[in-house]
Symmetry: C2
Subunit: 291 residues, 2 copies
């Protein structure tokens, strides 16, 4: 059994990007972050993205807004960044406060600067297998993990657990598309699925993105499966300083003995999303340069 | 076993729309057709759509171009129709001659007039379960057949045969979305799928859109399945005046004895696509009126 080291794979991608960016002599890629409010998780995520950008040589610019910012003010900032030719990528850190419409906000970002891949047009391009769009970072990270771990998908049965718009559906579309990784038979399961274990047991590749701690157990998979665990759930743990520990959607201890490949949590898909954001930013830079 | 009468269901929808449109006193919906060249099938399809529009009280306008029309000339016409406030829907009859890029042409149509549902933005909305978009007519027709035949989908296993961008993928997305019809476990199979019969035999609902005559045979389905046959294939038949007969992707004679529901070819999904085009046009009219 191979535990897929997401940290190592993300690190390899970051090194490749660093080398690529070091060759850009005239201008460097620029990513703009918009953060609304002081949610600790958001603060931490944006900081991490900024640090990684800095390592690669991508300039990042942070725009902070108070929790009660109006949609108009937020959209004005997005519009300014859209028309600023020095800015290549724009990321609006989710979640947004309730009074703001996330879909409308993400769609305000120009599709060519939508390094988060949440714009409706980029989702349509993903569905149409139009490679000119941006793929959302988590599903793109899943595909990259599969590719770099040389897990076969052609003609194999990929079962996706979860039908969310930011993970389950795009991951399913990527796995069924023509090409590699892809060309898989794909099943999407979710909370309404009947007799779920009879489906998950068919999986050659299982992508778990259902958001329930330790949900997938050993009896739900077959021998030789490759498991990509997208879940990041907090479980109370008094032995930890933080008072909790992170677990995935997959029960590692019972699934590991049957799996050929398995991503850990943390250290699996998680680090890949930041790496994919950086990759999208560098791509946005190329697109802008070639215009 | 119930043979689903697509003609009767389409007729019911057309009657509903006729009644709805008759109540519009000030203005009537308008759909514009663009046809390039004289391909006999395209001529016949457009004529049929025009006839149905006329029955409902939808005004149709036909714009014809020669086979060698330039992209610029075609786009100029689309732009004119986009900005013409009396036009609610625009349909560009496919296939287009090879020198024209279909995706670019369909994307030239304003998303709010894209009654064919081929615009990338509308495909993205379908994926995001945003009901403000237009769903392409064939997948919309499949859903409507399922709905009006009261075929259950909640928690059931829908197997889609074919991963095309205009049928397979949107049908799969519609079947997995939250709501009814929907909430299904969905598997997408295609030419690369290994051991296809083992998958199709699991189907509670089988949507065949693979474009191969009589491909699905009785041994590939289970007792009680509901089968939606999207295929329209020509088979040589010297006993016919035309020299051919139309058959679906499903071998009716062997599948019928096992199925609870089955759509015939012709007379199943086919008539629904025209009805759905009309429904989209009336919806585009409402959207324009409410602006």
């Amino acid at each position: 059994m191979q535990v897929i080291d997401g940290n190592a794979i993300a690190e390899a991608i970051i090194k490749e990007l660093t080398k690529e960016v070091s060759a850009f002599t005239e201008r460097k890629p620029v990513v703009a972050f918009i953060r609304v409010g002081e949610d600790p998780a958001s603060v931490s995520y944006v900081r991490k993205k900024q640090k990684t950008a800095e390592r690669i040589g991508i300039e990042s610019r942070l725009h902070l807004f108070p929790e009660d910012v109006s949609e108009r003010e937020l959209f004005n900032q997005i519009d300014t960044l859209n028309s600023d030719s020095t800015v290549n990528g724009i990321l609006i850190q989710a979640p947004l406060p309730r009074h703001l419409n996330e879909t409308a906000t993400f769609n305000r970002v120009h599709p060519e600067k939508d390094v988060d891949g949440f714009n409706t047009l980029n989702i349509g391009k993903l569905c149409q297998e139009d490679a000119s769009g941006f793929v959302a970072c988590t599903p793109a990270g899943i595909v990259e993990l599969i590719k770099r771990s040389q897990i076969e998908t052609e003609g194999r049965h990929v079962v996706v657990l979860g039908r969310s718009q930011i993970v389950g559906k795009p991951a399913a579309l990527l796995m069924m598309r023509k090409g590699l990784p892809g060309n898989a038979t794909v099943t999407v399961c979710h909370s309404r699925t009947k007799d779920l274990p009879s489906i998950t047991r068919q999986a050659d590749v299982l992508i778990a993105a259902i958001g329930r701690p330790n949900f997938v157990t050993g009896d739900m998979v077959k021998e030789g499966v490759a498991v990509i665990d997208v879940g990041i759930n907090r479980l109370e743990d008094r032995s930890k300083k933080s008072g909790y520990r992170l677990v995935g959607d997959v029960e590692f201890i019972t699934v590991a003995p049957k799996a050929d490949y398995l991503t850990p949590v943390p250290g699996g898909v998680g680090p890949m999303t930041v790496a994919m954001l950086m990759q999208n930013t560098v791509r946005a830079f190329h697109l802008a340069q070639n215009k």
